[in-house]
Amino acid sequence: MTAENLAEMEEVAGPGEILEVSMGPHHPSTHGVFRMDVRLDGEKVVRLKPVFGYLHRNHEKIAEKGAYLASIPYTDRLDYLCSMTNNWGYVLAVEKLAGLAVPERAEYLRVIVAELTRFQNHAGLVGFLLQDMGASGTPLMYAFREREKILDLFESLSGARMMCNYMRFGGLRVDATPAWLEEVKQLVGRLPRFVDEFEALLRGNEILMARTQGTGVLSRELAINAGVTGPMLRATGVNYDVRKVDHYGVYDRFSFRVPLGDHGDVYDRYMMRILEMRETVKILEQALRGIPGGPVMDPKVRLRGLRPKAGEAYGRIESPKGELGFFLISDGTGNPYRYRVRPPSMINLTVLEDMCLGQNVADVVITLGSVDIVLGEVDR
């Protein structure tokens, strides 16, 4: 931004009335190393430019130099809270590129781990949002208590709590034991009570209502045009969920609803997460009932030394943060010629300035919190 713009702003606000604040990169509310260059007129935001790149490691270049298999553990580190869904997005794109089939049991297990991931992500997000609003500790610890149980399940399944590295193109790395499935069943039985408790704790809170309703409003038209996806899009009332649109995996076999908001403000975005947690429980119950036996890996798939025919494919899934896609170009060799991640966190930030203009600076924090970003994915 040039000096003339500053002069223009000062003409409206008065000389010396515009204050420039650099929020971040080390600021607890940015959830990582992220910076916002904010210009303020008193308390009001008149300009906001996000600055990225602090965590940039050129993930795509590294993936282009390695074999197809070698990138799977690297995708864990994109959105490091949701490694299972990152794995799925990538293996789905490779399966599209190479035309691979997945055994049915593996498809069910993918749904189970992905929905558990969605649950712990949404619970964590609501906890963090409350934390940003000044409800120090308690709501976040409620969320983390449940998240911990899910991470324990991931650990006993894949060996790692967060960097799961669990999926493979053509199936999964290891099968789940009956005891593990029984444990998931028991946990899922307890989750609705947690959601009830969590929601009651927050919904009756007058301060929360006052802070979130009407804050950070995003219009439907802008959300579509700016490519906003995930709960943030659905909070504006647009019915678009990749699970319902593409029916990837076995999502067409489960009955669940897509919650929709109306106002597109922070409150709606937060309610989307609560309602999606409830739908997630429904999907988990159905998947646990319907999971068939059989192998979890197609034995014909060559994991090492996969060489897809020359061509390209774009595969996408509904990650907890929005549409996570992978675009791959193969030139017939053992490593992708082009590997590209469509990061929902980053693209959802396109409208951050539009949502924050005219708001108080304190509301920038909760508006950013309601977008749900993870910097590992934004910066790649």
């Binding site: 990225f52 790149g53 940039h56 050129n58 795509e60 270049k61 599209k96 590129l97 190479a98 035309g99 439907r220 802008l222 579509i224 045009n225 700016a226 490519g227 906003v228 996806t229 009332g237 647009v238 019915n239 678009y240 319902k244 649109v245 929709l260 897809p308 025919k309 020359a310 061509g311 390209e312 494919a313 774009y314 595969g315 996408r316 549409e323 896609g325 675009f327 170009i329 193969s330 010629y337 082009r338 590209r340 469509r342 980053m346 693209i347 930030l349 396109t350 409208v351 910066d379 790649r380």
Partner: protein, 213 residues
């Protein structure tokens, strides 16, 4: 946008979309690129002069309604040299010194100049179909790296075009705020290009070499 449509209208084939574009936008040149992978996501290369008009048509056309530009990215295609063996008839001196016509193998080299390519994946939130893949190609990889920006049509391209500019060096004409996004402002070169050479920044090794000498 409430109420779930029971039947999802199928996306027309890429040939039909091409025909519709050419009927709607006078003078637009569209070339179809076939995709050999099982995904069968074929794409269309647009000419620079009509790219904006074609994009607006695709977004606003009542049958297509490609209102959601999901993915914008770039691909670097290096200068390629392909060699093929050709049989050529030539007059060759035989063992007795008399020239005779013989078939001789000759290697012919053809150079195809490289280019950078911006790729757009379009979907429709209203009709729930996609993807339609668009490609814009630069003239070369050195001084002619301009393509028209589609950010005025789809805001979602704003950060992604900046990223393609930053990492590949494609200049998007008409972009409202074309700056580096992931690398810092003082950085030169474009690290995602295929021929990028990272600087020798192994400080420890350099120090060790200094100590030894």
């Amino acid at each position: 946008m409430s109420g779930a449509p029971a039947v999802v209208p199928a996306l027309p084939a890429v040939e039909e979309i091409k025909a519709r574009i050419e009927a709607a936008v006078a003078g637009a040149q569209v070339a179809i690129i076939q995709n050999g992978s099982p995904s069968a996501q074929h794409s269309m290369v647009l000419d620079h002069a009509h790219a904006r008009a074609v994009a607006e048509f695709l977004r606003d056309d009542s049958a297509l309604r490609l209102d959601f530009c999901s993915l914008v990215t770039a691909v670097d295609w290096l200068d390629a040299e392909t060699s093929e063996k050709v049989k050529v008839k030539k007059m060759v001196a035989g063992p007795d010194g008399v020239e005779q016509e013989q078939e001789v193998d000759e290697v012919r080299k053809t150079k195809t100049p490289g280019y950078l390519e911006a790729v757009y994946h379009l979907f429709s939130m209203e009709k729930k179909h996609g993807p339609v893949v668009l490609r814009l190609r630069t003239a070369n990889r050195s001084d002619g790296t301009h393509v028209p920006s589609l950010t005025p049509v789809w805001r979602s391209a704003e950060f992604q075009e900046r990223e393609a500019f930053d990492l590949y060096g494609i200049v998007f004409d008409g972009h409202p705020d074309l700056r580096r996004i992931l690398m810092w402002d003082g950085f030169v070169d474009h690290p995602m290009r295929k021929d990028y050479v990272p600087p020798a920044d192994d400080i420890l090794e350099t120090r060790a070499a200094e100590v030894r000498s």
